[in-house]
Amino acid sequence: MEFFRTDKIYDFMGKAKYFMTLSLILVLASWALLFFKGLNFGIDFAGGTIVQVRYDKPVDLPKIRAALKRSEVFKDASVTLFGSDKEIVIRIKSSSKNLKKDIGDEARAALAGTGHFEVRRVDMVGPKVGGELREKGLMAMVIAILGILIYVSIRFEWRFALASVLALVHDVSIAMGAIALFDVPVNLDILAAILTILGYSLNDTIIVFDRIREGIIESTKLRSLDEVINESITKTLSRTTLTSLTTFFVVLTLYLFGGEIIKGFSFTLLIGIIVGTYSSIFIASPLLKILGFNLEEYRKKLAEKKRRQAEKERMRAMYEQGMV
């Protein structure tokens, strides 16, 4: 089976301005969302408490809310169904330092009389730990991006590196915009998902760039950068689509069957895979051109490198034969 006809080169660069415009709109819209609506930080970063409770019958939410209103600790709690009509999650912004009578005990006391229930999960993060996790999370993002930037710079020319990082910023911005739009609580698992998107999207971009570099080195007849890019993207198109599809499949099953706890994580990945695939095909390479990548100069540089390499080998051969 084959998805794409191989005898045709698609003209990606000719349509680049439409895709760039679309992306620019999406990124700006995401930034606006992040700025005006903001992220819904979960307890890992903001501190607070989550109590997950399962009842043996479908729950009576008003009754539970009324019961919680009477409790000092839970009077401002938000209560929502969680996954099924028998399970709820109670969220409050505060936490408690007390070990002897902790917030789980308080919850059991407050819910007494609302039916037969089991407290299945209590997550509590104090303000100090929340602050530390926030700091660490930010550090992780920065270091991951720096590490990737350094690696790509070593492997490719700097414009490749910059273009791929800009594509990453594009992907992460849109993914975070979606998180803000759908009010997904941002916890450590979302951070993990975003870092995975970083790695994944870069993965796609690099494979296209690798092909562009190969196209530049191998093409004997003089072709424009547009032609090289179009051919490279076309040749990697079925690979990009296929890998994205298989990854999309598994993340979708994770989203559908993996349970409520990792819904946010798999949702972020789903968005990331779609955006990452799109940007590798339509955004990263045009960026290369916008950044002023010059085919002629690059060719000269490569030729120079090759010449020096050959020279070195000639010298070595002469040395080994005892000529010097």
């Binding site: 089976m1 789980g104 299945r120 104090g126 992780a140 450590l188 790695g199 690099i206 298989t246 993996g258």
Partner: protein, 520 residues
């Protein structure tokens, strides 16, 4: 055996090792290396505790006061107005001639800052000593909590210092809320045993006295369990640090009590005190509550005592553990808590297994349809990859968490990537009319740099995640990293070996649609 080549041999070896190492975990065998399930999958209690180091400093100040008082009594130095504040002790000498003696004593004690304002001495801790007290309090809390949990008899408790000033406690063995609450109480129990003298001269007026007035006499007001007030000397005769052992026993009414034994120094102090104070009362105080205040009838030698009063057997058992493992120098409090019921963990395992299996089946079928036999070869590599991830995790005793399961699911999708790249390259060459043998060789060669770059960048993200993540997230980084590394072996070396072995058959059949899913 002409079909066997080194790549295939290595692949088969890796495959078998992977299966062998993962079987104990999959079949839940008793023997062999096993994957540890994280708290989020097996249920349990995770806590990050903070230590109230201010309290440790205050209690250090108090113990300095005790030792000054003891030294003064031993050497017939009369001191007046001995006061303990948050961070300092102050006192005056009645006889200025004693100044030299007491100053010599204070000089010998390390880490003290001594100031003399007029006739009054002010003693506090140097900044270095304060830091030492803090560090010691944290270390002591870690040791004490570990000791208590070891004695409590839960399976595999983890107690470790985390960061600069926190204590990580992980208890996978907790199954019920009641058990959890009991353990939390045991951890939090200060277990601060004090024996204090009742101020008999003023005890009669205790109900009218304010704490400030009591402080003027160097006394404090404490209550017993029924709310009755006692006026006791603030500086204790001795405390729990001199306890050698504590055991649960039963009194005449068959009520649980705790018998404790003091070490030799404690026994001597206790003996001296009881000899001098016959007829007066001695209060037994645990965590600022008076448990009993019996009248001293005669000198008590041998250094043993009893705490009695309305314990349940469970409480008595826990108090005895706490006394044996020592008091907490500073109170601990909760900074972070994650508790997961066993039923939720089981649900998470079931749900992520369903996701893993359905994702896996989708990918396997898709690859077979799209690439024909080349797809099936990639599928074999994928299966080997899964076993290898589990096997390596079992070998190193790594912990599998819920995000870790997600990482495995994700690996299923991403591990076939290498094969997709390779297969696309081979197809490209075949279309150009290259022979099968050459297409395979060249295809692997052309795909290599892209595969390496792609995997290394993902690995960078995973390593950063491991370094900065906590608990469950680390599990995600672990399974991702192992999955990526394993895919290098299975998807690149392994499939290459299989192609080499099958090459004569492919060349003979010439049906490229069957083998590679393309029509040329």
């Amino acid at each position: 055996m002409r079909w066997l080549n080194w790549r295939l041999a290595l692949f088969i070896l890796v495959f078998i090792t992977g299966v062998a190492l993962s079987l104990p975990s999959l079949l839940n065998l008793k023997e062999g290396p096993k994957i540890t399930l994280g708290l989020d999958l097996q249920g349990g209690l995770h806590m990050l505790l903070g230590v109230d180091t201010k309290a440790a400093i205050h209690s250090k100040i108090k113990s300095i006061a005790s030792s000054i008082k003891y030294y003064a009594e031993q050497n017939d130095i009369l001191i007046d107005d001995l006061r303990v504040k948050q961070n300092e002790v102050s006192f005056k000498l009645l006889d200025p001639d004693d100044a030299k003696k007491i100053e010599e004593f204070l000089d010998k004690e390390k880490g003290l800052k001594v100031e003399k304002i007029g006739e009054e001495y002010h003693i506090s801790l140097t900044p270095k000593a304060i830091e030492e007290v803090k560090q010691y309090a944290i270390k002591q809390a870690v040791d004490t909590i570990r000791n208590r949990l070891d004695q409590f008899g839960l399976a595999e408790p983890t107690v470790a210092k985390q960061g600069k000033d926190k204590i990580l406690v992980e208890l996978p063995g907790i199954k019920t809320p009641q058990e959890e609450q009991r353990v939390r109480k045991l951890i939090a129990k200060a277990a601060h045993l004090q024996l204090m003298a009742v101020d008999e001269a003023r005890q009669a007026r205790v109900d009218q006295m304010t704490p400030e007035e009591a402080a003027q006499y160097g006394d404090v007001i404490l209550k017993d369990r029924h709310g009755r007030k006692y006026l006791v000397k603030e500086i204790p005769i001795l405390d729990g640090s001199m306890i050698k052992d504590a055991r649960v026993a039963f009194d005449r009414n068959n009520q649980p009590v705790i018998n404790f034994t003091l070490n030799s120094e404690g026994a001597r102090i206790f003996g001296d005190f009881t000899a001098k104070n016959v007829g007066k009362r001695l209060a037994v105080i645990l965590d600022n509550t008076i448990y009993s205040a019996p009248v001293i009838r005669e000198r008590i030698g041998g250094g043993s005592g009893q705490i009695s009063g309305g314990f349940s057997l469970e409480e008595a058992h826990d108090v005895a553990i706490a006394l044996r493992s020592g008091a907490l120098l500073a109170p601990v409090y909760m900074e972070e808590k994650r508790s997961i019921g066993p039923s939720l963990g089981a649900d998470s395992i079931r749900q992520s297994m369903i996701a893993l299996i359905s994702g896996f089946v989708l990918v396997v079928i898709f690859m077979a349809i799209y690439y024909g036999i080349a797809g099936i070869i990639a599928d074999i590599a994928l299966i080997a990859n899964l076993f290898l991830i589990l096997g390596v995790m079992a070998l190193f005793g790594a912990t599998l968490t819920l995000p870790g399961m997600a990482g495995i699911v994700l690996t299923v999708g991403m591990a076939v990537d290498a094969n997709v790249i390779i297969n696309e390259r081979i197809r490209e060459l075949l279309r150009e009319g290259v022979s099968v043998k050459k297409a395979i060789e060249q295809g692997y060669k052309n795909a290599m740099s892209a595969i390496l770059d792609a995997n290394i960048t993902t690995l960078i993200a995973a390593i950063v995640l491991y370094a900065y993540g906590t608990g469950p997230i680390k599990g995600f980084a672990i399974t991702m990293s192992i999955g990526i590394l394993a895919s290098m072996l299975t998807a690149i070396v392994g499939t290459h070996g299989i192609y080499e072995a099958l090459l004569p058959k492919i060349e003979k059949s010439k049906n490229l649609n069957l083998w590679f899913g393309i029509k040329v």
